[in-house]
Symmetry: C2
Subunit: 101 residues, 2 copies
């Protein structure tokens, strides 16, 4: 991807009640991929979960935050799946990478 673009860094701690979580996570990730301005997503989970999604504009991020199914998932996240989460909205200014040959 070519900067500038935007990243949403979502860090979270799960509660003990993870019933239905993986199905919802898959559904929401597939839904995100269909939104205008979606550029990509990276996820990993150890003690904490980190999901970073990438978007063309800040408006795309605002629209995704307010998407109906996503709002419902956020509500379930707060009531059931997460004890904590943090969201950071960032402008990606530079990027470089390494790939073994």
């Amino acid at each position: 991807m070519t900067p500038p673009y935007y990243a949403v860094i979502f860090t979270s701690k799960q509660s003990e009640d993870t019933s239905g979580y993986s199905e919802m996570a898959e559904f929401i990730e597939n839904l995100a991929k269909q939104q205008p301005g979606f550029l990509g997503i990276d996820s990993a989970r150890s003690t904490i979960g980190i999901t970073v999604s990438y978007w063309k504009t800040l408006e795309d991020i605002t629209n995704w935050k307010q998407q109906t199914d996503h709002l419902q998932a956020q509500q379930l996240g707060r009531s059931q799946w997460y004890t904590f989460y943090n969201v950071k909205i960032c402008k990606v200014e530079r990027e470089y990478e390494f790939s073994a040959t």
Copy 2:
């Protein structure tokens, strides 16, 4: 943390040869915490690894990238531990969080 500040999103895929990796990762994380401008770090690993470190200024990030022990670790990362990595330098513009009561 109160925006604006900066984030380095480091995503990576490990090679099969991870000997010495966890010791180096711990050493480098402890070293990062001692650098000027360091604000925090989040890490998780599943299929890919994601480490996000947070810094006061872009200059702090440049200095950390060029720190001697860190340069040596980067070299070992390319020659031994990683088949791929990507680094994104970002300005954190907004932040909010949820904590279960």
